[in-house]
């Protein structure tokens, strides 16, 4: 506003000039407005085009591209398929069962035909009540399978289309039970996974209808495909943001063992789905994090990181590891003890990720390192003397912004020891001096110039360390050389009071005008 009072821009006296450099572990924000990154790799909703147990028709020879004309045709075929199903259900005579199954199969074929199934036409024609009817208890397995399959693909559609499944949910959940034919149970899990992937509201409905325990029990055996589908559905179901479901899941008898077993032995595809379950367990529930940290989970995650080259797998595994480090101080204080084999293993796999070409791995590995670097002096020394530092220094000057920011947290944490209360952090001079000599200051000053205020704060905090901590009072000269004064002066009238005070305080304290004769 034009006539803002000048008072709000005055240079407030700075109290403690700069607070801790990150010195505590950072969990990722629980609230997110960004797109869920997982989606680009693994869709939250999945179309079922080939039956889970490998049967059904393979639509391989058909062309995926659907022209408008074909789309129109498909819609018309779908409407008539629903009509056929309706009459098949009404028919009570001989071969009624086969008739129903045939009608269902036709509808399922149409719904599996292309990337863009004719869901709207099916719904409009009134498919849902018919499909619900086909799910009734005592129906033959083949009929159940086809009906659940149809519902799976309807649920893979737009939000409103997914919501249309509401009347079918109780029966889909009921067929998850141990007494069900396994392919049926798996197909139902798939349909429910799609529903859970839609959003918080439907997740809550599923949870209140008791979907979690039977899905969790499906993870216990060693049946590859079923476990994979159940794990995926569960990872959707416990996404929160309420941590309750995650806590409930980890408490299911045998679930933890199953997770560990799958992480230890299964193929990469299954391990990937299980790792996503671990991601959400550890991201949301402190209880689950506590349980996982005390198990072999960290060890198994590290082994996977060391042996796999599958990006799909590495991402959830790395994020799980990061959550376990960030979420529970037990991890750094009693599991990742410097000198233990597992700790060296962690650093080694993180270095591997830092070297990878994939930015998500670099970013997440830096995030994990920054949390380990927030630990004890010994942790800091361990990272400092590892292969990670030269990599981090290079990333700080060349990587895209989001990676640079994470890297800066690691390097900043390496230079300070946490203090109690809100006092200024103590310096680790050896680390600071060496990192500055190796050129990291300009990277931090670039962060001060960035539009991101978290990054700017981190940059300012590091500058404070340099100004205060470089021996022989070299700090101000170094900051000036890197054009740091100019970077700080951008905050002279910034609307963020904290940054404004920090920057102005540093300029005043270290570069204040000296009226005296010995300027």
């Amino acid at each position: 506003m034009a006539d803002d009072s000048p008072a709000s821009h005055r240079r407030d006296p700075i109290k403690s000039s700069v607070g801790n450099v990150a010195a505590q572990r950072r969990r990722q924000n629980a609230v997110t407005v960004g797109k869920e990154r997982r989606e680009s790799l693994v869709r939250a909703k999945r179309l079922c085009r080939v039956g889970p147990s490998g049967d059904g028709d393979v639509p391989g020879e058909e062309n995926d591209m659907v022209t408008d004309e074909e789309g129109f045709l498909l819609d018309a075929q779908t409407s008539s398929a629903v009509e056929d199903l309706k009459s098949a259900i009404a028919y009570q005579g001989k071969g009624a069962m086969q008739k129903r199954v045939n009608a269902l199969r036709e509808l399922r074929r149409l719904l599996s035909k292309s990337e863009f199934p004719p869901v709207e036409a099916a719904l409009k024609a009134g498919a849902i009540p018919l499909l619900v009817q086909c799910l009734s208890f005592g129906s033959p397995d083949e009929q159940l399978l086809e009906a659940a399959w149809c519902l799976t693909n309807i649920a893979a559609g737009k939000p409103e289309e997914t919501k249309a499944l509401l009347p079918a949910l109780p029966l889909l959940i009921a067929h998850l039970g141990e007494k069900s034919f396994l392919p049926v149970a798996e197909q139902c899990a798939w349909a429910l996974g799609n529903v859970a992937g839609e959003g918080e509201e439907l997740r809550n409905v599923l949870l209140s209808q008791g979907a979690l325990p039977p899905l969790a029990r499906m993870m216990l055996p060693n049946k590859g495909s079923t476990v994979r589908t159940a794990a995926w559905a569960l990872s959707n179901l416990i996404k929160g943001p309420d941590p309750k479901a995650a806590t409930e899941l980890i408490k299911v008898d045998g679930l933890l063992d199953a997770i560990l077993r799958h992480l230890r032995k299964s193929d990469e595809e299954l391990a990937t789905e299980v790792a996503w379950v671990v991601v959400y367990l550890s991201a949301l529930s402190n209880f689950a994090t506590g349980v996982l940290v005390k198990s072999d989970a960290i060890l198994l995650l590290v082994e996977r990181l060391a042996t796999s080259n599958s990006l799909q797998l590495l991402i959830p595994v790395l994020r799980s590891l990061g959550n376990l480090v960030a979420g529970d101080s037990h991890t750094t204080s009693t599991v990742l003890i410097p000198g233990h084999e597992i700790t060296d293993g962690v650093i080694k796999v993180l270095v591997k990720c830092l070297k990878s070409d994939h930015r998500v791995l670099k970013k997440e590995a830096s995030w994990v390192l920054s949390n380990i670097a927030a630990g004890s002096i010994e942790h800091k020394q361990l990272i400092y003397s590892s292969e990670a530092v030269p990599l981090l220094l290079r990333l700080l000057s060349t990587a895209p912004f989001d990676i640079r920011k994470e890297v800066a947290y690691v390097l900043g944490n390496l230079c300070v020891t946490p203090t109690g209360g809100d006092g200024k952090p103590n310096l680790i001079e050896e680390h600071l001096v060496s990192l500055v000599q190796r050129g990291c200051l300009s990277g931090f000053i670039d962060l001060v110039r960035s539009a991101d205020i978290e990054a700017a704060r981190l940059g300012l905090q590091f500058m404070e360390l340099v100004l205060r901590g470089m021996p022989n009072g070299d700090g101000p000269k170094l900051v000036e050389q890197e054009d740091g004064i100019d970077a700080m002066e951008r905050y002279q009238f910034h609307e963020n009071e904290d940054l404004r005070n920090m920057a102005n305080g540093l300029v005043d304290k270290y570069f204040g005008e000296n009226y005296g004769i010995d300027e």
């Binding site: 609230v31 407005v33 539009a451 000269k477």
Partner: protein
């Protein structure tokens, strides 16, 4: 306040009168409104008045402004005690009613009232949105959709303007879960309607612009304003991170963005205002794509090439044009972001950098009419931008930032091309100097702006040109030009170059130009004579290796008379009467030159006449500070050389100082007291009667009432106590001094000053003089100890007791204290002295208290008494802590106490005059090392009664301190037996 016809009448009358040109009715109306504002429902009543169609528009406008300001001070009352008077807050029921009414009122009002109400709404939103105002966003959205259906752009823009102000907080607050929850709420509700209206307006613009004649400006204007607001909201909503909705719809947004950068709208752009409107939209687009480029470069990547070329060609056009600053700046910032990103290779292909340099950088660095205007009309602002780095958003500076950005990855290329450009510019200048002088200015600007600053700010270097030869061939001719007034901007550029590269210009070369610098002090241009003064001032600060000043008094003394004369003369130019650059130069010259009486005379005359002038109306605090520093340094250095000058100084200065005191020029009082203290200290006793008059003034409690005066007054009092101890003891003056001590020490905010007074008394007066007062003094101190014992006070008390002991002996200390109350000494010792001793900081204080405490345990009969053995041990324990541990291990900072001054509203503050400063004196010059003093004294003491003290030490000292003591004994080769 009830809403009825009387209220309506009353408020209408008042607001009408606030517009009156006559002061009386205006003031009366303002004060009745101020009074009414304290009543409940006042805000609501004013808002209703604003909405009353029967009331004159002018009155309703005044009411709307009043309403906005009312909310600003009272919606959330300030907690800041220093913020001025506090207002009674608006109560919740009234707030609720206001919130219910304001949106629809705002939308239905005329543009001027709408803008006031929109700001008022933003004030509310800042505190209440979204959690305490859940209806706001739905109301805005439904109104937006309604207005969109009828294409009512007055309402649409009102709503978007409001949304823009309430979303701004997402641009500067830290990313916390709370903030993200708010953001998510806004995104979930507003992201889709925002895109809808943006696309709708976009298609309206397209169809209007493609109609014959390109559409009327009146139709297009609100559409462009609407798009600009959408872009600003886009910026706020995307600032924290890339929201899912925006990622999913990036294509729609980016498509329109690109259109606005690449399309021309002739029917609008043909007028200045219209062009400005379109440019504002383009600038907003540039900010958005810069944000994406910086933070979401991966998702943005697919659009980057198109945008880079769009911005580039846009800039090529904009750079040729004189106005369009904001667009030029934001567009160049976008390219700068690209140049430092992982996609910098866009600049790598052959020919790109030379083109950018030629068609973007050089045209933007060239002087424009606006720069010339600023140079002439507002020299202070020009200098701030040109020399002092306040040019963050000027085209010249940002163009150089772009070059620096490209140079982070392509240094060699940039250097080569820019050097070549500089050569070309200089050649062009040489062909026709008077027509092409701006080319030379441009060349100089490039060299200076692209130089790299080195340590200390005095050394700079550049790879672009050879500084020495550039200086000789390009700069020197300007400096030697006989016409100081010709091409002033070029002269300013040359002076700036000299100043910037002063460290690299060899002494003989620079020295030869000194008379030219002195000559340029006579230039009419304010910038030129300021730069000349600044250049001289900075040259005098240049240090050679080893820290020795390069230019000494011997170098400059011969030209000092002319120099001083020119400096004083340049202060006579219009608008340079209070030119801080010149005054700073005067200060620096007085600090370096030999001050003979021939120089001192005119200088003191010149300075006092300026002083008398500024006393009438102190305006520029920096100028005034340098002025007082100049007086102080002149006195100090001249009298050091020739003590007889003091009376001449007194003669000139006294009238001015008396004017300051007599007219109570509050800003200058602290300075005046410091100068007086300096003069008193230079005097030899007996002190002249005119000072004693001031001494009387000094003793009046009125002088001490303003806290900003106190440090300077203490300083002056100390000077008197040192120089005129006998006079102090006459006419009951000591009593008055102690009265001041009493006043200061009783408040926690001034007790330190009180101790300064007391310590000075104790240090400078004979014991016989002060002994009658001691009982009283102890009473005052004990009283304060009882009422409000801050750690700071306790430490000051320990220092005072130590000083007393050193000056007047342990026995006097113990006896005078015990005279107030039996045995109080040991109580004070145990409760205050021993625990606080280890908190003492400062070298002089530490030595003083350590030595005094040592003497106490080695000399004082009270402590040598076997009954006091435990106290003796504890005292020693504390001394050893004090002496053996580093400060940060023994001292914990006391949380700062808020200082509640009695003189609210007074703004002058105490600023220390460096050159009138007093050296801290060590009251204990005979003891060098307090550690050695401790162990030597203990060794001597224990020799009398072997075996006694080791046992006490063993029983009372912490093990660490026992070890430390043993170590000290070893170091100094003493033994405690």
């Amino acid at each position: 306040m009830e809403w009825n016809p009387e209220t309506l009448q009353f408020l209408s009358q008042c607001f009408l009168h606030t517009l009156s040109p006559q002061p009386e009715p205006r003031h009366a109306a303002e004060s009745s409104l101020a009074e009414a504002a304290d009543r409940p429902n006042y805000g609501l009543a004013v808002l209703r008045l604003v909405a009353e169609p029967s009331v004159d528009e002018q009155i309703r406008q005044a009411a709307a402004v009043n309403f906005k300001n009312h909310l600003r001070t009272r919606w959330v009352p300030s907690n800041d005690l220093n913020a001025g008077p506090t207002f009674s807050p608006i109560l919740d029921p009234e707030k609720d009613q206001i919130k219910t009414l304001i949106v629809s009122l705002m939308l239905s009002s005329s543009p001027r009232i709408q803008s006031q109400l929109s700001e008022a709404l933003a004030v509310i939103g800042k505190h209440d949105f979204p959690k305490s105002w859940p209806t706001l966003l739905p109301e805005l959205i439904s109104n937006l959709q309604k207005a969109a259906q009828s294409s009512d752009y007055a309402s649409i823009n009102g709503i978007l303007g409001t949304a823009n102000s309430i979303f701004k907080k997402f641009r500067y607050q830290y990313k916390t879960n709370d903030l993200l929850l708010d953001l998510k709420y806004c995104l979930d509700n507003f992201a889709a309607p925002l895109l809808d209206i943006f696309l709708k307006t976009a298609s309206l613009i397209d169809s209007t612009a493609s109609s014959p004649g390109g559409g009327s400006p009146a139709t297009l204007q609100p559409l462009f304003e609407s798009q600009r607001l959408c872009c600003r909201i886009f910026y706020s909503l995307n600032f924290q991170e890339l929201p899912e909705f925006f990622e999913d719809h990036m294509k729609e947004w980016m498509g329109e963005f690109r259109k606005y950068l690449t399309t021309n709208y002739p029917s609008l752009e043909s007028s200045g205002d219209g062009l400005a409107l379109v440019d504002q939209l383009r600038a907003a687009v540039c900010e958005n794509i810069s944000l994406y480029m910086e933070k979401n470069e991966e998702e943005f990547q697919g659009y980057l090439n198109d945008f880079a070329s769009a911005v580039w060609s846009l800039l090529t056009n904009v750079s040729q044009s004189s106005s369009r600053d904001k667009l030029a700046v934001t567009a160049m910032k976008f390219l700068t972001t690209v140049s430092t990103s992982v996609h910098h290779t866009l600049f790598a292909s052959e020919g790109v950098i030379p083109q950018i340099c030629e068609s973007i950088v050089i045209p933007n660095v060239r002087l424009r009419d606006e720069d010339e205007e600023l140079f002439e009309m507002n020299y202070i602002e020009f200098i701030r931008r040109d020399m002092e780095g306040s040019d963050l958003d000027t085209r010249r500076r940002i163009a150089c930032e772009l070059l620096k950005g490209i140079a982070t990855n392509y240094k060699k290329k940039v250097t080569d091309i820019v050097s070549l450009q500089i050569q070309n510019l200089l050649i062009s200048f040489a062909t026709n100097p008077s027509a092409n002088w701006k080319d030379k200015d441009c060349a100089i600007y490039l060299v200076v702006s692209l130089a790299t600053k080195k340590a200390g700010g005095t050394l700079v270097s550049t790879d672009l040109v050879d500084v020495q030869s550039f200086f000789l061939s390009v700069i020197v001719p300007e400096l030697q030009s006989q016409d100081v007034n010709g091409f002033p901007m070029l002269k300013a550029g040359a002076l700036k170059f000299f100043t910037t590269f002063r460290g690299l210009i060899q002494k003989p070369v620079a020295f030869q130009l000194f008379p030219d610098l002195v000559r340029f002090l006579g230039a009419e241009s304010n910038v030129v004579h300021s730069y000349a003064a600044s250049c001289i001032e900075k040259l005098l600060l240049v240090k050679d290796e080893g820290g020795k000043a390069r230019y000494t008094s011997a170098d400059i003394t011969p030209c000092v008379p002319v120099l001083m004369n020119n400096l004083f003369n340049s202060l006579k130019f219009p608008e340079s009467e209070e030119n801080q650059y010149i005054m700073k130069c005067i200060l620096r010259v007085l600090a370096v030159a030999d001050i003979s009486s021939e120089i001192a005379g005119p200088c003191i005359a010149g300075l006092t006449s300026i002083l008398n002038e500024v006393c009438k109306n102190p305006r520029n605090p920096i100028f005034n500070h340098y002025l007082f520093e100049s007086v102080a340094i002149l006195i100090r250095r001249a009298c050091e050389r020739d003590a007889s000058l003091i009376s001449a100084f007194e003669g000139s200065l006294f009238p001015s100082l008396q004017t300051i005191l007599a007219n109570d020029v509050t800003e200058f009082l602290p300075y005046a007291f410091q100068l007086l203290a300096q003069l008193v200290e230079l005097n030899k006793p007996p002190i002249s009667p005119s000072y004693m008059q001031i001494f009387v003034l000094l003793l009046s409690p009125d002088s001490w009432r303003r806290s900003s005066n106190v440090p300077a007054l203490v300083r002056l009092l100390q000077a008197f106590l040192q120089k005129a101890p006998n006079e102090v003891n006459q006419e009951g003056r000591l009593n008055q001094v102690l009265g001041i001590f009493n006043m200061l020490v009783s408040s926690a905010s001034s007790d330190e000053q009180g101790f300064y007074v007391l310590n000075t008394v104790i240090e400078n007066l004979e014991y016989g003089v002060i002994s009658p007062y001691m009982g009283n003094i102890w009473n005052v101190l004990f009283m304060r100890l009882q009422n409000n014992r801050t750690v700071k006070f306790q430490k000051s008390l320990v220092i005072f007791m130590s000083l007393f002991l050193i000056k007047h002996g342990a026995t006097n200390l113990v006896d005078t204290m015990n005279a107030v109350q039996d045995n109080i000494f040991l109580v004070i010792l145990e409760q205050f002295w021993i625990p606080n001793l280890k908190l003492i900081t400062g070298a002089i204080e530490l030595k003083l208290t350590a030595v005094a405490s040592t003497r106490l345990i080695c000399e004082s009969p009270v402590l040598l008494d076997p009954a006091a053995a435990r106290l003796w041990g504890k005292m020693l324990d504390s001394i050893v802590t004090l002496l053996s541990r580093p400060e940060q291990d023994r001292v914990e900072e006391e949380p700062e106490m808020p200082d509640i001054a009695e003189n609210v509203g007074y703004t002058a503050t105490f600023v220390k005059l460096y050159n009138a400063g007093k050296r801290e004196e060590d009251p204990l010059t005979d003891v060098k090392d307090p550690k050695q003093f401790l162990v030597a004294s203990l060794a001597k003491l224990s020799a009398h009664t072997p075996g006694r003290y080791p046992q006490i030490i063993n029983e009372n000292l912490e093990p660490a301190n026992q070890a430390a003591l043993l170590q000290l004994c070893g170091i100094y080769n003493c033994q405690i037996v």
